[in-house]
Structure formats: C-alpha cells, structure tokens
C-alpha cells in the first residue's frame, strides 16, 4: 500500500505528512512532484498544506492547474481517496472537487494555534476509525480558512451529512465563540457527495505524536490506511459507481484542470 503526497512549489507540510505516514502510522509514502504525469500507482493521495505558488492570485488558484491535478481529478472520480489539508483543501475547492470557497479569516489575522474539532461524519476513508462526536485536538495555521458556502450549498452539505469536521469547544460544544476563523456553520472540513474526497483546514499530520502536543490526528491517517487496506482486500470501490460525478462540483468553472 502506498500513499502519495503531492508536492507543489510552496508546499511546506509535505514532509510532515510523509513523516506521519511513514514513521508514525507505518505505511509506505511517496512524494509526487506537481509536474508528474501519474500518481505512481498510489492507493490514496494527500494534497499537503503550505503556500503553493506563494498564494498568488488566490490560495490554491494556480496549483489547481498543475499537471498532477488532472490525475487527481481522475483518481477522485474513480473513487480513490483524496485528502486535502489546509492549502490542499484550498486547492480542492479551486479545482471544483469540493464546493464552496475560502475567505480571509474573520479578524484578518493569520491564526496559528491548537483548536478542537468535532467529528461530524465517520463514513469517510479519513474518519472510519473515529467516533461520531469525538473531539480531536490539532493545530491550524492559516490566513484564509474562513470557509464560505452559499445557503443552497450549505443546505446540500448538511442534508447529506457532508460536513466532516466542525470547530468546537474542548467538550465538543458547537458555539460561534469557538468558530476560530468565522467559517460558515463552523465548518472545518467537508467531503464530496461520494465521501472519498475530504478537505480540512486543521493539520492532522502535525498532531500525530504526543511530543508535538497531540496525537489526535493519527485517527485520520490510520482511518485512511485501514480504508486502503480494505480496498486492496478486494472490497469493491463502491464510490466508483458515482463515475465522473466527483469532478466539476460546486463551481461553474469552464476551465479544464
């Protein structure tokens, strides 16, 4: 089993993700340069955090046109698990693999601190080992993580259980006071309709060892490894039944990735 970590110019959490996968969770990981023509036969893809292309124009706006993103779009459409962390989430939004957009944080400050997330959905390849309602502590580090979805999109996300993580109090209470960046409905992470593509602003890969302040992020990566093992074990990728529906959601973009 191998998990690919995409590397864009300006990615800076790629090594964190690689380390957490390879040395903490103990699975095979490989970097994939953004100009690569394929994903190297990986079972899953992580788009890591950072500042791809210096966040020029908009966060993730240039990276989504990188050659590797065409392969990621195909991989996602075929049901492959794709996780976007922080800047990776922003890239997934720009690519139209997830709906909505990012605004500057409420208060305009770059926020770098530990937050608490409540797991809202367990039926994804990234939360399969978590309990519904479980509270995870992990860091955020972003200036543009104020997630926005218009009312119709929000209704669709809520109705289909596609909100995966919400910013919460340490006891799991959802309250605007704990909505650290002002996101719509305190959303920290969402999935696509099939559930195989997930994006979140907090950093599970930086919260995999007690020495780093929290090991709560491990459940996300361990869930992924378990899901990949199950898929390898002959279980059909039921999500693949959705065909190409995973692509092009959320935006009215005419551009080809």
């Amino acid at each position: 089993m191998k998990i690919a970590v995409a590397v864009f110019p300006g990615s800076n959490c790629d090594h964190d993700a690689y380390h957490a996968l390879k040395h903490v969770v103990g699975c095979d990981a490989a970097f994939v340069w953004h100009k690569a023509g394929d994903l190297g036969g990986a079972d899953a893809v992580i788009l890591p955090g950072g500042f791809s292309y210096g966040d020029y124009l908009r966060t993730g706006a240039i990276a989504r046109f990188s050659p590797i993103m065409a392969r990621v779009v195909e991989f996602a459409a075929a049901g492959g698990p794709v996780l976007g962390i922080c800047n990776g989430f922003q890239v997934l939004l720009e690519a139209g693999l997830l709906p909505g957009g990012m605004r500057r944080n409420r208060g305009l400050k770059f926020i770098c601190e530990q937050v608490h997330l409540r797991v809202e959905r367990t039926g994804t390849p990234f939360t399969g080992r978590a309990r519904a309602g479980q509270v995870l502590r992990m860091p955020i580090a972003h200036g543009e993580g104020n997630y926005y979805a218009d009312p119709a999109t929000l209704e669709r996300l809520e109705a289909h259980g596609r909100v995966v993580f919400r910013y919460a109090a340490p006891d799991g209470t959802i309250d605007e006071r704990w909505n650290v960046n002002g996101s719509t409905a305190a959303i920290a992470g969402i999935s696509n309709a099939q559930g195989n593509v997930v994006g979140l602003m907090p950093h599970p890969e930086r919260a995999c060892e007690a020495a780093l302040g929290s090991a709560d992020g491990r459940v996300v990566l361990e869930s992924l490894v378990e899901a990949c093992a199950a898929a390898r074990g002959g279980a059909a990728r039921t999500a693949a039944g959705g065909g190409g529906a995973a692509a092009g959601e959320g935006t009215a973009r005419t551009g080809a990735a």
Binding site: L57, R58, A61, F65, L93, E94, P99, G100, G101, M102, R103, R104, N105, R106, G107, L108, Y148, D150, G250, T251, A252, R253, T254, G255
Partner: protein, 84 residues
C-alpha cells in the same frame, strides 16, 4: 489591445479588508465614506482583432482563473487604441 479586469467579492460576501480600510478612512476624518470594497485589478495586453474579441477573451480568463465565481464577481473594460 488592453483589457482591464476588476475582481471584487460578491456583494453578499463580507469583505473584512474593505471594512478595515473603511475604519481607517473614518479615523482619518473621512466621515463621508459610507462603504469600501477591496478588489483586484488586472491589465491584460492581448493580440485581438476587435474590442469584442478582447472583451470575450478577458471574460473567459476571468471565468477560468482570475476570479473565483463562488465568492467573486468581475467586470471587464477594453481600451481601444486611438479612441482614448
């Protein structure tokens, strides 16, 4: 031919930078300022046969890359040579 593309957050989207600038202008004594929206401005030189072609090219670029239709809207102007 030069096209100009103005990108701003949609009116329904809160613009925290605009609000901060509004506060700064008021603190400078510009009490007449009612609202500020901050945006982006692009000057694009294109080889186009007509103003209409330049306009539609610039609009296509805005749709595909310069603006994010989820949160932003844009406006295109074309400067026609000899008419300025």
């Amino acid at each position: 031919m030069r096209a100009r593309v103005f990108v701003t957050l949609k009116p329904s989207i809160l613009d925290p930078q605009g609000k901060t600038i509004l506060g700064a202008l008021r603190s400078l004594g510009y009490g007449a300022v009612e609202d500020v929206r901050q945006g982006k401005f692009f000057e694009i030189d294109v080889a186009a046969g007509s103003a209409g072609e330049a306009r539609s090219l610039a609009a296509e670029m805005a749709d595909r890359l310069l603006a994010n239709p989820v949160i932003e809207s844009y406006r295109v102007e074309v400067e026609e040579p000899g008419r300025t």
